[in-house]
């Protein structure tokens, strides 16, 4: 089943189109990366899913049912523009947000204590929010987003402003939560976290979906027949190439005694190429270069 399915949703503002009619499916249990340059319509889409704004046309379903306001109890959303009440105490603030998500006071306190203990935040319970560092505030926001154990979690740029240690902490929690059965939608510019985390992606540009599918499918479909051969030699060796194979470059590597040849072929597969080239040199490594999500992103957007 799809956690989220949108049918032809669009949104137009006074002077621009934020979203062209969009069909999108977020499979249950996936980590779904929502990618796109600034102004592509990601935040508009996320706000529509969260029912903060309504689409001009089309509809959204949540686990097969038309979404309505009671579903907000089953969604956790960490918006890109996020903050906390500066004058409130950390504990008080967390309790407040948890109760608004429908948790009872007791349940909220119990779960919050569990999280605060886990991340060593207990001493911060009675401190004011304005005393928190940015990273610390991000952690509190993460906790209050996931505390009511929603079926669907939506994170808009969850790693912005986090150091690598805390980013890893959050990432690990996301993976744990996913393992427990939640579906995660992730909007981010950090392509390495997309490759690390996401099972599916959709790429938006100028309010239109230009790409979607599983990460593997997409990377496979963007294969362009590039191969790389590393071999031991002080100078590049001229290689004799089979038919329909071209040499893009053949250079000495920065490392002494190693050369790298880049080869292009749409017709032959890797074993056919390696069997032709391996006898000619002292091979260290041979690999097919599958474009990274970053390359695919830039290429697709520039199209």
């Amino acid at each position: 089943m799809n956690a989220i399915q949108s049918f032809g949703i669009d949104k137009q503002y006074e002077n621009h189109v934020a979203l062209h009619p969009l069909d999108l499916s977020v499979p249950e249990g996936s980590v779904f990366g929502l990618l796109g340059p600034n102004g592509a319509g990601k935040t508009t889409l996320l706000r529509i899913i969260n029912q903060i704004i309504s689409p001009d046309n089309g509809s959204v379903s949540f686990y097969g049912q038309k979404i309505d306001s009671s579903d907000s109890r089953h969604i956790g959303y960490l918006p890109e523009e996020r903050g906390l009440y500066k004058k409130m105490k950390v504990g008080e603030q967390s309790m407040y947000l948890a109760q608004l998500k429908g948790l009872s006071r007791n349940e909220a306190r119990k779960r919050l204590h569990w999280w605060f203990k886990k991340w060593g935040l207990e001493t911060w319970w009675d401190k004011k929010v304005e005393e928190l560092s940015k990273g610390m505030a991000q952690k509190i926001q993460f906790i209050t987003t996931v505390l009511h154990e929603p079926k669907l979690l939506i994170f808009d740029e969850p790693f912005s402003g986090l150091d690598p240690v805390n980013a890893a902490l959050i990432r690990d929690e996301m993976l744990r939560i996913r393992k427990e059965g939640a579906t995660i939608v992730l909007s981010t510019h950090r392509m390495e976290s997309v490759e690390e985390l996401c099972s599916h992606i959709a790429l938006l540009n100028h309010g239109e979906k230009i790409l979607d599918g599983t990460v593997n499918e997409i990377r496979e479909s963007h294969r362009n027949g590039n191969f790389r051969l590393s071999y031991r030699s002080n100078e590049p060796i001229t290689l004799s190439l089979p038919n329909q194979v071209e040499m893009s470059q053949n250079l000495r590597d920065f490392n002494k005694g190693i050369c790298i040849a880049e080869i292009q072929s749409m017709k032959l597969n890797s074993s056919e190429i390696i069997s032709a080239l391996a006898p000619q040199v002292d091979t260290i490594r041979f690999e097919e270069i599958i474009p990274s999500m970053n390359d695919i992103f830039i290429k697709s957007v520039e199209k």
Binding site: I52, Y77, P79, E81, R82, L84, M88, L100
Partner: protein
């Protein structure tokens, strides 16, 4: 629990727990109480009895040994002139001053009084000066009457004090009326509503701006609808205002009754000038009685009931608009352009209070008490005067309810877009577009 209640409770408790609120609630009524009590306290304080040397060349004061508690010691005018009398006062510490009445060749009282001098060591006090003036004036009048061949006791006996009792005809009969008191109550109540409305509406606005600038607002509206957030805030802050009002009433009642029981209020008028100006004393006594009398004719609980209704109505109407203004800006400094149209209607109504009080059932007053943007003030000005038709009150209340439902509806539409709009300074045109956005 309903999220709306959770929000209202947070808005309420976070403000009530605030130190400023606690200070305001305690110090505010105390300050008002102090304003009432301290002057009474001071005017009741015993002034030290003063001793004055008197050189009375004209023998106008003949026989007067005391004015209230201050005593006179006469010097023989044949032995002391002005100079030597002054040095006599300087030499003797027990005397506080010198009252010098000059000689007059033809006994003209006006000439004497024009040239009378009161020398004192330090300030002698305004009361004593006034008492001496009164006494001399009275004596001079008698002297003039004698010169003109009229017996002063004849004049005294024929002096008549007139106090016409103002009575308003009502359905049941007639009741005492007191115009100044009506004006005081009407203006006081509407001024209070004016202050409260803007004070608490500004709090709503500040709260909305705070939620925007701290970026909490988008987190909030994933859990609750923007309208719930808006209404929760408005109702929560209304609770703060009501609580403050109750504290004010309670404190005032306590202070008033405490002050009354130790005799600080109402008693000062008869006690301050014993034996002084008797005529004025009777007059003030009568006015005081009249005030107390006519206070009883007002239906105080009913007036308070209307007051709370119009205050809440006005607050809800303007509060919603202030919230919309807050949602359209990123910082409080940018609210200027929206403030003028929001503050002017009530300000104008307040400025029109005098013409309305002159003609409380005239066209101006009636219209202003029906229009929701001015009715909270205008109706409170009219009500103490009586004569407001029941249908006028009903219509005014209904229109006010429709009015604040209307402004809340409009504001909610602007608000839900405004809170998510950052950076660009919104114009009225933008607000109109937001209003129409689906």
């Amino acid at each position: 629990m309903n999220p709306f209640i959770i929000i209202a409770l947070r808005e309420f408790t976070s403000r009530v727990k605030n130190k400023t609120f606690i200070l305001m609630s305690i110090i505010g009524p105390l300050a008002i109480g102090a304003l009432l009590v301290i002057p009474a306290l001071f005017s009741n304080l015993d002034e030290d009895p003063k001793k004055l040397l008197v050189v009375d060349n004209s023998y106008l004061l003949l026989g007067t040994e005391k004015i209230s508690k201050h005593s006179f010691q006469y010097l023989n005018p044949e032995e002391f002139d002005e100079e030597s009398a002054i040095s006599a006062v300087r030499e003797k510490e027990i005397y506080d001053g010198l009252l010098f009445l000059p000689p007059s060749e033809n006994g003209d009282p006006d000439f004497i009084l024009r040239n009378t001098r009161l020398y004192s060591k330090g300030d002698i006090g305004i009361d004593l000066t006034r008492d001496i003036e009164r006494r001399l004036g009275k004596l001079a009048t008698e002297e003039k009457l004698k010169i003109n061949g009229v017996d002063p006791s004849l004049v005294k006996n024929s002096t008549t004090i007139v106090n016409i009792k103002n009575l308003n005809l009502t359905e049941k009969g007639s009741e005492a009326s007191s115009l100044p008191l009506k004006m005081a109550i009407g203006f006081g109540a509407s001024f209070f509503i004016y202050m409260f409305t803007f004070f608490y509406s500004a709090q709503i606005m500040r709260g909305v701006i705070e939620e925007k600038t701290s970026r909490i607002v988008e987190v909030m509206i994933t859990s609750v609808k923007p309208t719930q957030l808006l209404l929760g805030k408005i109702i929560g802050i209304a609770g703060v205002g009501l609580l403050q009002f109750l504290i004010l009433i309670a404190f005032s009642t306590i202070i008033y009754s405490v002050a009354g029981s130790i005799g600080l209020l109402g008693s000062d008028i008869s006690e301050v000038t014993p034996g002084g100006a008797i005529m004025e004393n009777t007059e003030s006594q009568t006015v005081l009685n009249e005030v107390i009398e006519s206070f009883k004719t007002f239906n105080i609980p009913k007036l308070i009931g209307f007051f709370v209704f119009y205050w809440l109505g006005g607050y809800l109407l303007y509060g919603a608009l202030f919230a919309a203004a807050g949602s359209a800006v990123d910082a409080e400094a940018d609210t200027q352009q929206f403030m003028i149209p929001l503050t002017v209607p009530l300000l104008i109504t307040l400025m029109l209070a005098t013409p309305m009080m002159q003609e409380p059932n005239g066209t101006l007053a009636v219209w202003l008490s029906l229009i929701p943007f001015s009715s909270p003030l205008a109706m409170m000005i009219r009500l103490p005067f009586g004569g407001v038709q029941t249908y006028e009150i009903a219509l005014s209340m209904i229109l006010l309810i429709i009015g604040f439902l209307g402004t809340t509806w409009i504001s909610a539409k602007i608000y839900r877009v405004g809170i998510l709009t950052y950076g660009k300074k919104a114009s009225y045109k933008d607000l109109y577009k937001w209003l129409r956005r689906k």
